[in-house]
């Protein structure tokens, strides 16, 4: 127990260091790799990913991780990566990895010539499944909250989401899954296998913990959160800070 507590203090401390550095640098959000590191330390499973700072490095990493891959821009000036062509999914081989690397840089530069570019993230592509969204938001009147709902690119369109005040108990996290219309997908929809409720609840609890313990976090977006019959993977973690 004592060891556990020490570990949890340690992870809060390490996360705070990352956030404080970003604040010092005048950034409003964390880089994806930073966000994933923090999420990972709070127990959220993320897809293995590594940062490539050059084309050659990208090739070396691609060989290690294997295919298919998704490649994403890493830049403090690009928040909505897909909107500027900063994400290329389904990279199948080394040749495609090379052209994708060039393509991403060109796309980002075209939309914002002054964008500071740290590199390109290579991430193994998780198998297809249902996409959910998990999030956190610091409310001006109620403080830290947690959100869950149907994810992917239609979050804003369908708004099939629900909120709770953080921190969350397991029972509250599980109750959130029942709140949304998409709960039918989780229980198994038209012959599909039921999805792993506990793994979603654990992600929601972790998001609540992050919001409660890390006061400088303004919001957290995990979208998509890929949920399988066994386990969940946070594919894109975005953290805004204040």
């Amino acid at each position: 127990m004592i060891i556990l507590r020490a570990q949890s203090k340690d992870r809060t401390y390490r996360a705070s260091m990352i956030i404080e550095r970003a604040i010092r640098e005048g950034r409003g959000s964390l880089l994806e790799i930073e966000a994933e590191k923090i999420a990972g330390s709070f127990g959220i499973k993320t897809e293995a990913s590594r940062l490539a700072k050059s084309e050659t490095e990208a090739i070396t990493i691609a060989k290690k991780i294997g295919f298919p891959l998704v490649m994403k821009i890493v830049s403090p000036d690009v928040i909505h990566k897909s909107d500027v062509g900063g994400v290329i999914p389904g990279v199948q081989n080394l040749k495609e990895a090379r052209t994708s690397y060039r393509q991403i840089l060109a796309n980002v530069m075209r939309s914002n010539q002054k964008a500071r570019i740290i590199g390109v993230l290579l991430q193994r592509m998780a198998p297809k499944t249902f996409e959910f969204v998990a999030g956190g938001l610091r409310d001006s009147q109620f403080g830290p909250t947690v959100m869950f709902g149907l994810g992917g690119i239609y979050v804003e369109l369908f708004r099939d989401v629900t909120f709770r005040l953080a921190p969350l108990k397991k029972s509250q996290a599980l109750a959130m899954l029942e709140d949304v219309k998409s709960s039918k997908i989780i229980s198994g929809f038209r012959g599909s296998e039921p999805l792993d409720r506990n793994s979603i609840a654990e992600v929601l609890i972790a998001v609540g913990d992050m919001m409660t313990k890390l006061k400088h976090i303004e919001s957290i977006d995990i979208n998509p959160l890929l949920v399988y019959p066994k386990g969940s993977i946070a594919v894109d973690v975005r953290i805004m800070i204040q």
Binding site: V155, V161, F163, M240
Partner: protein, 442 residues
């Protein structure tokens, strides 16, 4: 009353007058520099010139003079004050409000307001408001952030015979806030239910924590207007953009066991149902009607609100068959047809009240040519009075002025009654929701 006036129409006069007319048994001390009497009460030039203890100061001075007055009160040993005066943060003078808060805190006093119309408290018949002079005592405490709405409802609750245990115009909430008042009404024996009209909260967490506890003892209904502020940063995140103005409030209210009403009508329909009924043990609802059409409408509306109409057991159907006209329907809703009179209504309700598997009853009566709704009202009251164990019931008597007289009588006799079927269902919805919330919190 600091700033008491002898000119009718002035707030400083109306407050003294209301306290007097309301029948407050304590001493009334008008503070006015000109001396003499106001409405028969001896005035004093300052609180300090009065010898004796003062429990509550009602301050009705121009904003800039309230700070000095509050300081005098504190030094005199007054522990509580209501600052009626406006001209603070709501009028672009937050610095004045800050100074008032500092003064009150440094004197260890509590403050309601500023910018309020006062408070009414039924227990000691204290109407320290500049609203209506006559207020009907009842079981609902009403906390209002809006002045005009609070004043209007003060009149209305009396007119409609609802009654209130207290009305608090909470004003700018510089010190005492919604949560503090919930804690007070939690303990107040005359208060059975708490209604809050709010536009915003300064400390949402505090409200959440307190209301979660209080709602286990007394129902809390909140009407929330306006949108909450949100940082610009959050809008660029998915979570921020789907949060909307209300979802966090909804989430917090739901978890805290608060019933959130969308309108005043809905709030009062809920209050009526909750005040006049026990909380149902389960969700088995039976609808009794004399019209097929309204039965179908009601079934649809129940479904929309997530209320379930129970399947009637065979032996109950057999019992009902002996009472009901043969051409009616013994499914749920039980359609007694237009021939059903007060005797049939009475017998059917009595049967249902005697059953353990029936948790709640919605009674619909459409006015017909030959049956007086007043007789039906009496049959319902009679059945309720003779019931072995009380069951939640809401009724709608639908029709013209005869129907209106019928449901008015029911209201007077503390039977939750409405002029339309939807509102009777709404009332039942509040009861079932309350039952679910209590079950969840156990």
């Amino acid at each position: 009353v600091i700033g008491a006036s002898r000119k009718p129409g002035k707030i400083g006069y109306e407050i003294v007058r209301n306290i007097k007319i309301g029948g407050f048994a304590g001493k009334i001390i008008p503070i006015n520099p000109h001396g003499g009497t106001i409405l028969g009460f001896q005035t004093y030039p300052s609180v300090k010139s009065f010898e004796g203890e003062i429990d509550l100061a009602v301050i009705v001075l121009p904003a800039e003079l309230t700070i000095e007055a509050a300081k005098d009160c504190g030094e005199k040993g007054v522990r509580a004050c209501i600052v009626i005066s406006s001209g603070f943060s709501e009028a672009g003078h937050p610095e004045l409000e800050e100074r008032l808060i500092e003064t009150v805190k440094s004197q260890s006093m509590r403050l309601i307001g500023p910018n309020t119309f006062g408070i009414y408290f039924a227990d000691n018949q204290m109407n320290a408001t500049f609203g209506p002079s006559h207020v009907l005592p009842g079981r609902t405490a009403f906390i209002s952030q809006s002045g005009a709405l609070g004043l209007a409802l003060m009149d209305w609750t009396t007119e409609e015979k609802y009654g209130v245990s207290s009305i608090v115009s909470i004003g700018n909430k510089a010190d005492v806030d919604d949560a503090d008042l919930l804690e007070f009404f939690e303990q107040d024996v005359s208060t059975q239910l708490i209604l809050v009209y709010m536009e915003g909260l300064k400390n949402g967490r505090k409200f959440y924590n307190v209301s979660r506890r209080v709602s286990k003892k007394k129902p809390i209904i909140v009407i929330k207007a306006g949108t909450s502020k949100r940082g610009a940063v959050a809008a660029s995140s998915h979570t921020g953009s789907v949060a909307g103005a209300d979802s966090v409030f909804n989430a917090a209210f739901e978890e805290a066991g608060i019933l959130r009403a969308k309108s005043m009508t809905q709030a009062f329909d809920w209050i009526q149902a909750l005040n006049e009924n026990p909380v149902p043990d389960g969700e088995g609802i039976v609808v009794v009607t004399n019209g097929g059409g309204i039965g179908v409408l009601t079934t649809d509306y129940c479904e929309t609100l997530g209320l379930k109409l129970m399947d009637l057991p065979q032996e109950l159907k057999a019992e009902l068959a002996k009472i009901a006209p043969s051409f009616g329907s013994l499914k749920n809703p039980i359609d007694l047809t237009a021939n059903a009179d007060d005797v049939i209504y009475g017998s059917v309700i009595r049967k249902l009240l005697a059953r353990n598997d029936v948790d709640a009853i919605i009674i619909l009566f459409c006015q017909t040519a030959n049956i007086d709704p007043m007789l039906v009202a009496h049959a319902l009251l009679e059945a309720k009075k003779n019931a072995q164990a009380p069951k939640p019931m809401t009724a709608a008597l639908i029709g013209g002025h005869l129907a209106e007289q019928g449901y008015s009588r029911l209201l007077e006799k503390k039977f939750a009654a409405y002029p339309t079927s939807e509102r009777a269902v709404d009332g039942m919805f509040a009861l079932i929701t309350r039952s679910r919330q209590l079950a969840k919190s156990r």
